[in-house]
């Protein structure tokens, strides 16, 4: 591409530039013809775009294009560098290697003129950067499953890869939670067990409370059938109940070290609070760093067209088949978006009569949705009550299968409900006449709520059973001690059963549904029905809901069963391999794409909803329901939460009064008001910024029109002088 000189308008245009005629320029903003390119190349704004970090304006030498770094361009660059010796790395310049080499030589000659101190500073910053890079390289090798996830990304795209990254995140989260619990709770218990330290055990109180509260019947039977071991393993009763798996095992009150006594009940409670807080912080941090949201922007959705077009193609794709699939999925997505825009325009043009009709229909259908939810919750409630009642009867006398059915009845009902309701919701939402994108999002939200609320219903049913009694026996201990002498352990057992059943279902579905389906499709593809059905698609939302459900169970259950996070870690590791295997061998990629950016935010949002729903039952059981007096570390306290006030009362009095002051109303109300004021300030600031941005954009477009007008006038004037 030839360069044009600065002075004269070149009579012969450079070959690659578009043919531009000045008469095409008009002041009418609707006619977007391109302005004369050769002039614009010489403008300082064009030059400075290429090197954004320098503040020096270029001298008007020979014009070079933005694209090809010609000699003049790089000599300008050298001048800039000479005047502005930035310490930044050469890599950040958008030049090719030979030019970067030249720049580096210039920099090094420049360095000779620097003082000793500056030279040493530069040298040390360079070596520090190299050291950081090496460290970063090392840590990437430690990343779990890096190769697997990379190969999945190459074969199936970033949407599915984000699911597996999410699974890896959950494995790490559970491992860290287990480590916290281990350090705070299990380690002192182990030290005591192996007689490394002395410890005092929990006193069984017989003064204040009735001795009936402390009765804990240990199930013992004369003849133990073999299958009862299996039942115990699957339901956490029998021999498992006594182990450190459940809350009831922890009867240590304080572990005596040399200088101080380690308060185990306090540590137990604090470990719960810690792991919940840690989960919250980690999830929030991860969602912020993976997802840049700019609240000052005025766009409604972040899945803008520009994102789809400019960042649409996955450059990692190496497979021809995947590339074709990506083409078709991009086509589908673009057409769907354009369709949605047309529908939205149509919706905006609805008459008021139609609007009223649609809204009343939506109200009716939402009532149906609520009714369906209510029916499911009631079914779970009934199943839980039935299961709890029959568990108390002579369970050893039942037949093997019936035994397991009774024990697992709540889990079975929950799974069935989670299987049926998405189908009902998909049918219902078609009548509600939303735009397609919104339909998908609303259905997913309803399914999420359904799935996570079922666990809460289960826990609340248990809670109500624990605190309700037929006659006045609850007043003795605060809970139903006849049926639930050690209620935390029994809640822990329910959570344990849910987790095991969830794991079994995932394995069973993969083995007994996905693989036969794949075999059928491969070998019996002549049947029309099989062809229609086709191979399994990897449905990301369902799979994500499944693992979020498992994680919510783990969060709720970790208080009642401290080893549950370890079981969850193992479960997720096995699920990773099973799902990866299933993906590679039985699934075909879905033609409906699930964007990676959208995915990360969606997964973490659902996980956050799960965390919030997990905190509610935990708070209630810790602070409201009296802790069981027959087992566990909190028998000396009324409720589990009482440990904290009792600990605070052992602090020095100044600290005590400080804490009392901070938690009193006199502090809380002004604090709340100040927080509100700060929030209003930031909202006002954001609004002001938005207005400034709009003004600046208008100003920019006016400037651009001025520029084009002036160039047109200049071109005309030059043409006149030439003629």
């Amino acid at each position: 591409m030839s360069e044009s000189s600065a002075t004269a308008l070149p009579p012969g245009r450079p070959s690659r530039q578009p043919a531009v005629h000045p008469e095409n320029l008009s002041l009418d903003s609707s006619c977007f013809s391109s302005p004369p390119v050769n002039f614009l190349q010489e403008l300082p704004s064009y030059r400075s775009i290429a090197r954004r970090r320098t503040t020096v304006h270029s001298r008007d030498k020979q014009s070079g294009t933005l694209l090809k770094p010609t000699d003049s361009y790089s000599s300008q660059l050298e001048d800039r560098i000479a005047e502005n010796l930035s310490g930044q790395s050469l890599r950040n310049y958008a030049l090719n290697i030979s030019e970067k080499r030249r720049l580096r030589d210039i920099q090094e000659t420049q360095m000779k003129y620097l003082s000793e101190w500056d030279q040493w500073k530069r040298y040390s910053s360079k070596s520090w950067k190299r050291f950081l890079e090496k460290a970063r390289e090392m840590t990437t090798h430690l990343e779990l499953w890096r190769e697997d996830i990379r190969s999945i990304e190459g074969k199936f795209g970033t949407g599915i890869q984000s699911y597996f990254s999410f699974l890896r995140f959950l494995v790490l989260l559970n491992l860290v939670i287990f480590l916290i619990i281990f350090m705070l709770v299990l380690l002192p218990v182990l030290l005591t067990k192996y007689k490394l330290t002395n410890s005092s055990f929990v006193l069984i109180p017989f003064k204040e409370t009735d001795i009936q509260c402390t009765v804990y019947p240990v199930s013992s039977s004369g003849l133990i059938y073999f299958y009862s071991y299996i039942i115990d393993l699957l339901s956490g009763t029998g021999f498992l109940e006594e182990t450190s798996l459940f809350y009831g095992h922890y009867t240590i009150d304080g572990v005596k070290f040399q200088n101080f006594t380690y308060d185990l009940p306090l540590a137990y409670l604090l470990s719960t609070v810690t792991y919940l807080a840690l989960s919250l912080l980690w999830i929030v941090k991860r969602s912020v760093e993976g997802f840049k949201i700019n609240l000052i922007r005025s766009e409604e959705h972040f899945q803008s067209y520009c994102n789809k077009i400019f960042a649409g193609w996955d450059f990692c794709i190496t497979n021809r088949g995947m590339a074709d699939l990506k083409h078709s999925s991009l086509r589908y997505e673009l057409r769907a978006d354009l369709e949605e825009e047309r529908i939205r325009q149509k919706i905006a043009e609805r008459t008021s009569e139609e609007t009223i009709r649609i809204y009343s229909l939506r109200l009716f259908l939402n009532c149906i949705v609520l009714a369906v939810l209510g029916a499911c919750f009631y079914a779970i409630y009934v199943a839980t009550v039935f299961s709890q009642e029959h568990m108390k009867k002579e369970i050893d006398k039942m037949v093997f299968g019936e035994n397991l059915l009774i024990l697992y009845l709540p889990s079975i009902v929950i799974t069935l409900a989670n299987f049926i309701t998405p189908m009902i919701f998909t049918k219902i939402i078609r009548y509600e006449d939303y735009s397609p994108g919104f339909e998908i999002r609303l259905t997913i939200l309803r399914c999420v709520f359904m799935r996570l609320a079922t666990i809460c219903v289960l826990v609340f049913t248990l809670g109500s059973k624990i605190t309700s009694c037929d006659d006045d026996t609850c007043d003795l201990c605060g809970y139903n001690q006849k049926l639930y002498p050690c209620w935390e352990t029994q809640v822990g057992q329910e959570m344990y059963k849910l987790m095991i059943f969830d794991f079994i279902i995932i394995l069973a579905v993969t083995l007994f549904v996905d693989f036969p389906r794949k075999l059928l499709v491969t070998y019996c593809s002549s049947w029309k029905l099989i062809q229609c059905w086709g191979q399994q698609e990897f449905a990301i939302p369902d799979n994500v809901l499944g693992i979020v459900y498992g994680q919510t169970i783990c969060w709720i259950g970790a208080f009642f069963s401290p080893l549950l996070p370890a079981i969850a870690t193992l479960k997720f590791i096995i699920i990773f391999y099973v799902k990866e295997w299933s993906l590679l061998y039985t699934c075909r990629p879905s033609p409906r794409p699930f964007r990676a950016s959208n995915s990360n935010f969606f997964f973490l949002l659902v996980l956050l909803i799960g965390l919030c729903l997990a905190i509610i039952p935990l708070t209630i059981s810790i602070s409201r329901i009296p802790s069981s007096k027959a087992c566990g570390p909190f028998t000396n306290f009324n409720t589990t939460w009482e440990v904290i006030p009792m600990t605070v009362s052992t602090f020095p009095s100044s600290l005590q009064s400080f804490i009392h002051g901070v938690t009193s109303e006199a502090f809380a109300v002004p604090f709340f008001m100040i927080i509100c004021l700060i929030m209003f300030y930031f909202i006002a600031l954001a609004g002001a910024h938005k207005r400034v941005v709009i003004q600046l954009r208008e100003q920019l477009s006016l400037e651009s029109r001025d520029k084009r007008y002036l160039i047109q006038k200049l071109t005309e004037a030059q043409r006149d002088t030439r003629n």
Partner: protein, 230 residues
Amino acid sequence: MGGSGSRLSKELLAEYQDLTFLTKQEILLSVYVVLAPHLVDNEQQARSGNEHGRPIAENTDSSPLSTRAHRRFCELLPQEQRSVESSLQAQVPFEQILSLPELKANPFKERICRVFSTSPARDSLSFEDFLDLLSVFSDTATPDIKSHYAFRIFDFDDDGTLNREDLSRLVNCLTGEGEDTRLSASEMKQLIDNILEESDIDRDGTINLSEFQHVISRSPDFASSFKIVL
């Protein structure tokens, strides 16, 4: 890979590490592929007396990375240019670059080659151009660099701005190559109007580099999609 590492001098390796975003392993990989066919050719010639030693993927190395990186750059070179010094300067014509597995399925492969080429006729790539290419597409490159080169790749007519013609060619690249895969004219117009609405700040009908970089900075997918993994 030890043998090839000693052939590329430590200073050259450190220089490449300074000037690009590639790690030592990735540079060695590209270089190894530069030299491996040389080694394999010698072995093959010794074994079978073949002159045109075409290296076979499975026999060169057992490590998965280099078998994946096989048939890269220097296999594409003719026999006489396979020593270290001349291989660094040799130019490989585009047809052979376009046959690399990483680029084969990419609809932008011609544009990528054209943008990174520094030869006067812009029809071939040297090894350093190839390293530049890998560096820009690596994990650790800054978003600034990536968006700069993305702009150049999407600018089909090389005029420094993305006008409607560029955008429609871009969309056609994305949706597929056949005639029946293109969007209809009205859909294309609606789409390009939307894109310009979102990104053209100064309302001149074209997207220049700073507008492009501004849009990319708000795009959450860009960093993860604009990379090539060796």
